[in-house]
């Protein structure tokens, strides 16, 4: 009984994670400018990664494996927002402006 419950919840987590991942992937291709793409990557990444990792944790009873997964999870949770922040800041500093309105701000994005 317990096994089945674990398996099902793990499957759900994995499914959710994969779905979020895919949506993030679509987002990174389809969104119009850097900042929105970063949003797609950053937000879905964090949640998707945690979902998949939690799903994996539910699959394995071994303590060492779980602790390692927890470590990976913690690290993703730390690192992902930090890199997003650093990237956004760097892009802003270098003069890359968000695409607020297509009419106002053409040179910021489409100069290449």
């Amino acid at each position: 009984m317990m096994d089945i419950a674990l398996n099902i919840s793990s499957a759900i987590c994995l499914f959710l994670g994969s779905f979020l991942c895919l949506s993030g992937g679509v987002g990174i291709i389809r969104f119009p400018d850097f900042y929105t793409r970063m949003h797609a990557a950053g937000v879905t990444d964090t949640l998707a990664a945690s979902m998949i990792l939690i799903g994996l944790m539910l699959q394995n009873p071994d303590a060492i494996v779980i602790s390692k997964l927890v470590m990976i999870l913690l690290m993703t949770l730390f690192i992902s927002p930090t890199t997003s922040h650093a990237m956004a800041k760097a892009a802003m500093n270098s003069g890359l402006l968000p695409l607020l309105d297509k009419k106002e701000n053409k040179d910021g994005v489409k100069s290449s």
Binding site: M75, F78, I79, T82, H85, A86, K89
Partner: protein, 308 residues
Amino acid sequence: MAMLSGIYGLLSASLFVTMDAVDVAFTEASIGAGISTLLMLTTIAMTGRTEHSVRHKPLLALAVVFVTGALLIYATLDMPYFGDVMAPANLHVMPRYIQDSMAEIGVDNIVTSVLASYRAFDTFGEVVVIFTAGIGVLALLSFARRPEDDAEISSDNISMHEQNLIVRIVSKILIPFILLFALYVQFHGDFGPGGGFQAGVIFAAAIILYAMLFGMSVARRAINQTFVQLFAAVGVLLYGMVGVVSMLNGGNFLDYNVLSEDPVAGQHLGILIIELGVGIAVATVVIIIFFNFADRIDILKHKVNKKL
């Protein structure tokens, strides 16, 4: 471009995982995707990203590539198939490693036992190669620093690094953790993937992260360069000394059986020490290489700023 090669490193590393080469994947992840990419970035930062893509001699290149490619394809035609259990490579020398290494060396990870005992001399050569690269980089890039320049650069750096508060704090939390992880990898090499080489790279990566975020001059104050150089030499010597000691004890060079009463215990001791030597040498050499590259950047930027 360099980032794409970083992706390539990551990709090939995941490929190694699918092909059961965990240790290799470990190393490729830290080297191909990490250190090599960082070095390329520093170089690009110095040389500039401008490029005019002139492809010279394309015909010659195509001809050479075509001939070698054709020869290789030709060579594959008689090869045993991918994953073939009966391939000669899997029948001749390799079975002994799998069957007897537990009794002879007593280490779970066969890669470690082959690396550190059966073919220990190759690994010694590998440590020497990386040490040579460190000395080579020193010989090419080191220069006498003038104290007044140093002071100016460090004041430049401090103003610059105050901006990146969040990254700095997160990294401060991460760095001790990374160092701990490096130690874990160092001593866990007997049971799982890992060992001196990977540990050394991870250790150096932590130091590099510190240096990148807090500035070279701060890092330089924390880590004395002369000291690091001597330590690199100590790493190589440690490895060699194990061999010399085993020679003095009556065995051949790098014969760990004679290091202790019980051959398996001797093997354990030998592997532990040489892995430590590898770890020290690799970590210090990577630090040396990175510091010398990054110093050049600092000086360069400093000159540019002065002109402005």
